[in-house]
Amino acid sequence: MSARWRLVLGLMLVVASMAPLLPLGLWSVARGWYFPQILPATWTLEPWARALSPRSDIPEAFVTTTAIALAAAALSLVLGIPAGRALGLYRFRGKALVELALLAPVIVPGIAVGLGIHGVFLRLGLTNSALGVVLVHLVPTLPYVVFVMSGVFANYDAAAEAQARSLGARPLQVLWHVMLPAIAPGVAVAGLFAFLVSWSQYILTLTIGGGRVVTLPLLLYAQAGAGRNDQAGVLAVLSLAPGLVILALVARRITGRGVMIGGAG
């Protein structure tokens, strides 16, 4: 295929995947936009000004969402890296079953998971708190981290660690100087996945947070449901922001180039 065709097809793909998002962006800068107008009649930054004003709950929700997503991503890395290591490096009885169980939260509808966990969290006093929301976000984020990391560890040569031990490295030094540098690209990808999955959670945040923990998706659904297209537009753009930023930063990594893992045999 010629380079020109590749470029054209690539652009078409970008346009096709971005097009549905376009009205959202337009809503956030439109005043009055009705069928059959193709573009808004009047342009305005008024929705943004309102969204960012001190009276708005959007800035606070933005901070809350970011903090929860960061915490959920960090926690799922802490739990998911060792789990991925075990699945990637070792063979053990019932491994397929464990893998299926880890995938289950991705298959089972979030509402079912949320309602089930709600009862448990209620008894533990974790409902209506940001901590509870962070914990319940692990349900969808952890599988991604575990599967990315088990793939990384499947290509990882643990003999490098034994070699480091023999050269005088203590276990924590091995972790820091040998394992982490080798799996760093995978950790970055897994962490970003976890962040984005947590960032866009709605049902689990609503059931466990009980409306007290307000994140951007909650506001987005509320505004969209209330027919406030301008505020919904602002929220949609804000919700998209980290995904786009991250995509721009790591596009090269995700395509596989530059991901190098393990020792040089």
Binding site: D157, A159, A160, A162, Q163, A164, R165, S166, L167, G168, A169, R170, Q173, H177, V178, P181, A182, M260, G262, G263, A264, G265
Partner: protein, 345 residues
């Protein structure tokens, strides 16, 4: 320099039918270089890992200079293991790789730089400190791995098949380097190999390991020419085994009475001689053989012959093998000094 004692080490990997190590005992003097030789799967790498502290044995003891080190983790043992593949850290350049162990000890930067340069000098890679591992050839990688161990001045150096990943022409060079460095530094070195020739060249002594235990230890030539038992003889390519009885320096068998070298074991046994020791022609211990088959093996020709109802195999150079055609009768001399008796077989 550390003396090493392995005292009746036993180890069975979980789920394995046979133990990897079975009552393995071995003694190494300070500054000695010993080659641990054995076929793949005989447990020699496992033994090396036990010494390095990477695996705990089920029973038995590992002693450095007489003191047990079993309770010490690998990083606190005076032994450094160099892995078969070299195991260079891909995210560090050559100098950082070599300096790894010193950095783990938190040595001052200047000292590390100095000792790294010295170690790279030793393995003749002085100018490659800034290369990345993937830019190196196989031989260079192996030398970096060696430098990374030597820079720590370990009491005991453990080399796991250091030459097996190298091309044939690099092997000789690397072999010479390892020998020279060992002589210069005097570090007690245990090298594991499956290659008989490598073991003979590298080791002051060779220890043959079969099925999890040491079967014979000694100079290379002793293991070749004076095997302790049938398995040892077979491992070294022995193929001529003649049952009979040894008495008073003579061996009674189907080939008649053969003269033995002094010191040969007495009694019922099995006579063995290496195929390349057989010479064509008349002389003491000459026997008449009927050639069954000849096979060209490059430098040497393998001749299978029959005498007194026994099969004999000889390896001869092209000149000596001339005239050996299937069906022909020849006179072969079995030199007394090449004969050995395996008692009680």
């Amino acid at each position: 320099m550390t003396g090493l004692t392995l005292d009746r080490l036993s180890l069975r990997h979980p789920g394995a039918a046979r133990p990897a190590l079975e009552e393995l005992s071995l003694e190494m003097a300070q500054g000695e270089m010993l080659a641990l030789l054995g076929p793949s799967g005989c447990g020699k790498t496992t033994a090396l890992r036990v010494v390095a502290g990477l695996i705990q044995p089920d029973s038995g003891d590992v002693r450095f200079d007489g003191a047990s080190v079993l309770h010490l983790p690998p990083e606190r043992r005076e032994a450094v293991l160099v892995f078969q593949s070299g195991q260079l850290f891909a995210h560090m350049d050559v100098a950082a790789n070599v300096g790894f162990g010193l950095r783990m000890q938190r040595r001052p930067r200047a000292e590390i730089a100095e000792r790294v340069a010295e170690a790279l000098d030793q393995v003749q890679l002085r100018d490659l400190g800034h290369r990345q591992p993937h830019e190196l050839s196989g031989g260079q990688r192996q030398r970096v791995a060696l430098a990374r161990a030597l820079v720590l001045k370990p009491g005991l150096l453990l080399l796991d098949e250091p030459l097996s990943s190298l091309d044939a022409h690099l092997r000789g060079e690397m072999r010479g380097l390892i020998r020279r460095l060992q002589r210069e530094t005097g570090i007690t070195t245990l090298v594991v190999t499956h290659d008989q020739e490598e073991a003979a060249v590298l080791g002051d002594r060779v220890a043959l390991m079969l099925g999890g235990r040491i079967r014979q230890v000694g100079a290379g030539a002793v293991l070749w020419n004076r095997p302790a038992d049938l398995d040892v003889a077979r491992f070294f390519g022995g193929c001529n085994f003649i049952p009979g009885r040894s008495a008073g320096g003579r061996f009674d068998c189907a080939l008649g009475q053969l003269a033995l070298p002094p010191g040969a074991p007495e009694g019922e046994g099995c006579l063995t001689l290496r195929p390349e020791a057989i010479e064509p022609g008349e002389g003491p211990n000459a026997v008449t053989v009927q050639v069954l088959e000849t096979r060209f093996e490059g430098l040497l020709t393998r001749i299978t012959a029959e005498a007194g109802g026994l099969r004999l195999e000889a390896l001869m150079r092209a000149g000596a093998a001339r005239g050996a055609a299937p069906g022909r009768a020849l006179r072969w001399r079995l030199p007394a000094e090449a004969l050995w008796v395996l008692p009680g077989v």
